[in-house]
């Protein structure tokens, strides 16, 4: 039931790009993305409500493939401030909501 994220961890240099994937075994109504910095609470980044939807702000964007029950988060030209653990959250029929397994992202100078 819990969506699986890949990769589990990634290390980037400033300016590099990264993709984080979130896969569910269940049909999805929506996908959330959150970032959690060390020692802090998760912070909401964005929600995708429709299959095929793509959304983004600044250099962080996401897509939602409803048929494949997947979502991807794209970080372009990464900055040091992007470091943290990224969680997807998926809502399925019956209002079941689960957070993903998490992806640790570290950006180094």
């Amino acid at each position: 039931q819990q969506p699986v994220q890949s990769p589990q961890a990634v290390i980037l240099r400033e300016g590099e790009d990264a993709v984080i994937n979130c896969s569910s075994s269940k049909a999805l109504y929506s996908v959330h993305w959150y970032r959690q910095k060390h020692g802090e609470a998760p912070v909401f980044l964005m929600i995708l409500l429709k299959g095929g939807e793509q959304k983004g702000h600044d250099k962080i964007s996401a897509s939602f493939n409803e048929k494949k029950q997947q979502s991807s988060l794209y970080l372009t030209a990464s900055q040091l401030s992007y470091s943290g653990t990224y969680f997807c959250g998926t809502e399925s029929p019956g209002n079941q909501f689960y957070f993903g397994t998490g992806t640790s992202l570290t950006v180094i100078p």
Binding site: A41, T85, G102
Partner: protein, 115 residues
């Protein structure tokens, strides 16, 4: 700035003690949640509520209880603390009236250590 508040921020207690973790939000959100999270790890749902007098169990609910007497307040009680309860506890809320488009808002968490 967070509109959901958790107290205490840190707590160290002895085994067998009864404790209540407080959570309050000022946003008028109907839905509230409690999650348990070890550092850097996944979030596990303990309890949730759809509104006043509504409480539901999550995956880790067996050793705790919650109440929702007022919209803004959602305390979590551990009847008898054990070392295995050592973890971070996060409270969150969301507004179903907006279709969830603003996601979950989390409190700063309570770091609990049971000795």
């Amino acid at each position: 700035e967070a509109d959901i508040y958790q107290t205490p921020r840190y707590l160290v207690i002895g085994t067998g003690k009864k404790i209540t973790l407080e959570c309050s939000q000022t946003m008028g959100h109907d839905k509230m949640y409690w999650y348990q999270q070890d550092p850097g790890m996944e979030l596990h749902l303990i309890h949730y509520s759809y509104g006043v007098n509504s409480t539901e169990k999550g995956d880790l609910s067996s050793e705790s209880t919650v109440s929702r007497i007022r919209t803004e307040h959602f305390p979590l009680t551990l009847e008898s603390a054990r070392p295995s309860h050592t973890s971070q506890y996060l409270c969150a809320s969301s507004d179903p009236k907006t279709g969830g488009v603003y996601g979950y808002t989390f409190g700063s968490g309570t770091r609990l250590t049971v000795v």
